[in-house]
Subunit: 295 residues, 2 copies
């Protein structure tokens, strides 16, 4: 199977699994469930689910188990987007090519939809028939809680808010991104692995190195695309960072150095997983995708 | 030990445990952790932790195990208050006798603090040394996720928002409260019990009945106090429901009938747990407290 085919098949699986793990609009409150599905389904690059699948396959995780972990991570990611788009934060009207939730519905609904999506992620991880043992469920909840909470994603967003209009040093910028987006990408790789045969400490260390490189590459490329791509290609507002006077890799080290950094991080990602040999193929291909993506 | 003494000792335990399970202000991002602690510590009736402890003692749960469950429930409760107080929802400035989080800090911080408190609840439930087995951790996450998500607390808040200015029937009002506050109170009782010796189906059914009665009584008394108490006694804005034209028990069945209903629900709560005999003492005393409370 080519990477392209693998990706398409995985994305299909993920969409079906998200359908399954989201409450239906036949269940009350119907409007809220409709809004949750509006936020999650039919869009997004599904970067975190793809990482879960790639790492899960490496460790022989069952399809069912990686699907539960994938959905949990995507729901956490989407809840953070829904809240991030609200007027109190980034105040954005366009996401994944559609009006943001607080525009399509209203602010209170967006707030509650984000809250409920976070709960739903932990429901998915501990569903009775999700292919994970109780020990795996507990371990995955622990990973996801830490990665999404105050020392992870939410904490990174807080640092991001405080940094608007300030000139960050490159290490400060890296700390912010390691929390804001890196923590959840790292959790994707770890949770995929933990959903399979118990990975060794060495395996987890290699995967952490891989995830750190891919996570940072992802952010560097995001910053590059914010200045080089248009809104239609991105499916979100382009030029937003510059407009909000947010520190980015491009603003700190320039466009050419950012491109070189992204390529270098791609090589680091490959190096981290070379001991897995052919079993690491999907992870290696995924790293290339992150570095070379155009939206 | 009198109930008064038991309660004071339990509240002390809970405060210490919350201190333990909340990230310190020495950890980055410091301002966010300060705001999380501001929201959670030094206030609140701790209704949910008290219920966890009462049900946990009934089922012989360890102190450590009930503390983890108590903290998780209180963090979920507080996150919902922080978000509920925001301008997009109830727009309130006073909570537990202090300025609300978005007033004391800012809106974006309140949003993120609520988000991070939810994650922190699931971190507490799955902490490696919290006295719960992996199977108990997974079971408690499942209970808390469902109780706080779209078919529980968050869903109840959505229904509440949609009901403003509408005349609800009494069954509609009950459905809303069963989700908005009832689900988390029920989870408190169930999680306390599940933190101990595996409760039988009969035990859980009895505890569900108890929790349903106490949960509804709690809400009816809330509605009574909203019209009979002042803001200083309540530690939050009194008369808020009438002002927001929210349907309440008092507005639907009147003050006297509301008082009679609260007393009746107290009797139901006692009846539900009579088979536990003396082991159910704290739960019985707690039901009396809920019915007779003045704030």
């Amino acid at each position: 199977m080519t990477f392209e085919q693998w990706m398409r098949a995985t994305l299909d699986h993920v969409e079906t699994a998200l359908e399954h793990y989201l409450p239906g609009t036949d269940i009350a409150p119907a409007r809220m469930h409709e809004a949750m599905r509006y936020a999650v389904l039919g869009g997004g690059k599904r970067v975190r689910p793809l990482l879960v699948h790639a790492a899960g396959e490496l460790m022989g995780a069952s399809t069912q188990a990686v699907e539960a972990a994938s959905c949990a991570l995507e729901m956490i990611h989407v809840y953070s987007l829904v809240h991030d788009d609200m007027p109190a934060m980034d105040d954005d009207v366009l996401r994944r090519g559609k009006p943001t939730v607080h525009i399509q519905y209203d602010e209170a609904t967006a707030l509650l939809v984000g809250d409920a999506l976070q709960s739903q992620a932990f429901i998915a991880l501990t569903a009775e028939d999700n292919g994970l043992s109780a020990a795996q469920q507990a371990a995955l909840v622990r990973e996801l809680g830490v990665a999404s909470g105050s020392v992870g994603m939410a904490g990174g967003q807080a640092i991001d808010l405080e940094s608007v209009g300030r000139k960050l040093s490159r290490p400060e910028l890296e700390t912010m991104h390691r929390k804001k987006t890196g923590a959840l990408l790292r959790a994707s790789v770890r949770m995929g692995a933990l959903a399979g045969t118990t990975p060794s400490e060495d395996d987890l260390a290699a995967l952490d190195k891989y995830a750190a490189a891919v996570g940072l590459a992802f952010q560097v490329v995001d910053d590059i695309l914010d200045v080089t791509a248009d809104s239609a290609t991105l499916g979100k507002t382009a030029g937003k960072d510059a407009q909000h006077d947010k520190p980015t890799y491009v603003s700190i080290i320039g466009l050419d150095a950012s491109r070189e950094l992204a390529a270098q991080l791609g090589r680091h990602a490959h190096a981290a997983i070379q001991n897995f040999g052919a079993r690491g193929q999907r992870l290696a291909e995924f790293a290339d995708l992150v570095v070379n993506r155009v939206n």
